[in-house]
Each structure stands twice: as C-alpha cells, then as structure tokens.
C-alpha cells in the first residue's frame, strides 16, 4: 500500500477529506448522491491546487476560504450540468436507491403511482405558507431544518406544519384516501 508523500498532495487530501466528510454527513439525510459530492470535491481540489501552490499554504488556509471556494465551485458545477442538460440524481431516502435520472420500472410506476399523484394534487391545493412547510416535511426535512431555512421560530414552524398536515389529511379524506400514520 502506498500513500502520497509529497506535502502538497497530503495537505490537499487532508483538507478535502475533512470537507467531503462534513458535506456527506449533512447531505446524506436528504438523498444527496455520492457522485455529486465526488464531483464537487474534484472541482474544489483543482481550484485549491491552482490557488494554493504548496502544502503549507493549503493546511493554513482558513475553513472559511475552503467553504467559500466550495460554494462557488458548487454553483459552477450546477451551471455546467444544466448547460450539458444533465438530469440531477436524488437518492431515495426510503430505499437508498437512485430514484431520479433513470426511469422506474413499469411495475414500480403502476404501484402507488396514483396515490402519489393524488397526494401531489392535495399538497398543491394547500394555502401558500402551509404548502411550503408541508412540502419540506414530505421531502424529509425536520422541524429544525424547516425553521432554519424559512427563518421562522420553532413555535411558528410547528404550528404551521401541524395545521398544514391537518389540512392535507382533510383534503385526502375528501378525495377518498384514508388517514395514514406519518412515519
């Protein structure tokens, strides 16, 4: 087994591994694909390599510099993918499989597809403030994350989320879809 011995590569890989671990930990819960993190890390690797020529500088670079570089690299990565018309991939939180970017089997589409569409319709009919919060909840976001992104207090988030879910249940019931226990 061999490891890179030159200080530039070692310093760069140390910084990048630390960065990639943190991004993966945050993104894993919401279906961020491993390939996205890999592509981003490669983009950041090249930028840091060009900007910081020796290992000492790379190790001494403040975290804020690394994350500013990463934020700008992520934007560029998305722009390039859109220009190439690449379809983003999201990993299912339920099965752990990639659910976008490739067509599900016909059987999988048939099974529960109608229910999914009806839920989509019901969510779409909710009032604005409740609709967004319910969509976030259904997409897997927790109350704290919802409050953080919307700039709301925990109490306001809880209130609107519960009201929104109650509205959703009411609409689904009126569509003939029975109540369900949320997981």
């Amino acid at each position: 087994m061999t490891f890179p011995t030159d200080p530039e590569s070692r310093a760069l890989e140390t910084v990048l591994n630390r960065f990639a671990d943190r991004v993966r930990r945050v993104g894993l819960r919401h279906g961020l694909a491993g390939k996205d993190v890999d592509d981003l890390v490669q983009e950041v690797r090249v930028r840091l390599w060009k900007a910081l020529q020796n290992g000492e500088k790379i190790e001494a670079a403040p975290a804020s510099y690394i994350y500013r570089t990463a934020a700008s690299a992520a934007l560029d990565l998305l722009r390039r993918r859109r220009a190439r018309r690449e379809t983003p991939v999201r990993v299912s939180r339920v099965t752990g499989e990639a659910i976008l970017g490739e067509a599900p089997s016909p059987e999988a589409l048939m099974d529960g597809a109608e229910l999914a569409e009806r839920i989509g319709e019901a969510v779409g009919s909710l009032p604005d403030s409740r609709r967004s919060v319910v969509r976030m909840y259904l997409a897997g976001y927790g109350r704290e994350e919802i409050a953080d992104l919307l700039g709301w207090t925990e109490a306001k988030t809880r209130n609107l989320l519960y009201r929104g879910l109650a509205d959703l249940r009411e609409r689904l019931t009126s569509m003939g879809i029975g109540p369900e226990v949320d997981s």
Binding site: F3, T14, D38, Y67, T87, R90, P104, M136
Partner: protein
C-alpha cells in the same frame, strides 16, 4: 406519506426534463442567506421541494453551506489543545506499535495504489496498478496535468491501465493520478491524488 411523495418526485423526474420554470442555481443559493423576504422565500422553497431536478441541486448547495464548521469558542480552543496533546501521545504510541495493511486501508485512503509509487519517475507509456475494491462496478483512472487539468482518463474493470503512447506528457513534469471506484448503486469512492514524474523516453 413521505414514501408516496418520494414516488411522486420520481414520477415527475422520469420523463423528459422541462426546466423552464426552474430556479437558477444563484436563486437557490440566495435562499441560504437571510436577506430574502418571507414571501419570496416561500415561493422558492415551494418550487424546489416539488421539483425533482431542483431538489437535489439545492441539497448540494445546502449541504456545502451547512457543512461549514462553526467558529470555536475560546474555551473550545483550550480544550482542542488538550485533546491534541492526548492524540499526539496516542499517535506516538500507535506509530511505535506493529501494524498491518488492513488497518491502513481505513486511514483516509480507501483505494490502495500500487504503481507508480509516489514521486516515481515513469517512462511513457505510463502504466498504473491499484488494488481491487470489493463489489466495484468499474474503475475510472484520471491523470491530471501540473495545472490540474485532466489529461487522460479511462474506465474499465481491470485494476491496471496503460496510457496511450500518444498522450501528450511533458518530460520532467509532475503529474497526478487518482482512481475512482464506481458502484452499481451510483456511489463512488476516490483514492488520494498521487504524484509521478515523467522521465525522458
């Protein structure tokens, strides 16, 4: 219900992508700042959370923003110094103990690269050898120029690869190579970047 919503997004994403009403990456990134009005914030969130294409893009941007470590408190710096001392002592003990290859595999380098050795001088055409990774679908090798540009890449199932002899390499220049192991579920792991020098043919 969340499972059904996942399915809904999968259905919406299975056809041809129509992104005419999608947010720009910049508009998504602005959501991570506090300056946007609540009305605008709700409008953007509503689109992203119902869009199979914007949602994974937003998650990438959000994960980068959220991964930034918080500023340490002063007491945390002192605690970190104490922990560093402890870790240093542990490291000295660990390095003085005998170790085997299986322990090294988990040490931040999931793919073992065999040849060329770090900083080795290579006479073109360069050949690369690495150790197999369990359950891999295929390997991708990347060779980067001194300025970080990709000069050659190759995908295959072998754990060896040889650069075509007409690949433009500068004698005496440094290059880096890396291996990406790709799995059937779409996940990847990447080796460290390793340097080699090109010798005169």
């Amino acid at each position: 219900m969340r499972e059904s919503y996942d399915r809904l997004l999968a259905i919406r994403g299975s056809g041809e992508a129509d992104r005419t009403s999608c947010l720009t990456p910049e508009a998504m990134q602005e959501l991570l700042q506090p300056e946007i009005s609540e009305e605008e914030r709700l409008r953007r969130v509503d689109h992203i959370m119902g869009c199979p294409y914007c949602l994974p893009e937003f998650e990438l941007l959000r994960s980068v923003a959220k991964a930034k470590p918080p500023r340490p408190f002063p007491w945390a710096t002192a605690l970190a110094a104490a922990l560093t001392l402890l870790l240093g002592a542990g490291l000295v003990w660990r390095l003085s103990s005998p170790r085997d290859e299986s322990v090294l595999r988990g040490d931040g380098a999931p793919i073992a690269m065999e040849t060329p050795a770090p900083d080795a001088k290579v006479v073109p055409p360069a050949s690369f050898v690495w150790h197999p990774v369990a359950n891999v679908l295929q390997y991708r090798i990347e060779v980067l120029t001194p300025s970080g540009d990709l000069v050659w890449q190759h995908a295959g199932t072998d754990t060896t690869a040889t650069m075509p002899s007409d690949t433009p390499l500068q004698s005496g220049a440094d290059y880096r190579w890396a291996i990406v192991a790709e799995f059937a579920n779409g996940e990847h792991i990447r080796s460290t970047l390793q340097r080699f020098k090109v010798a005169a043919p």
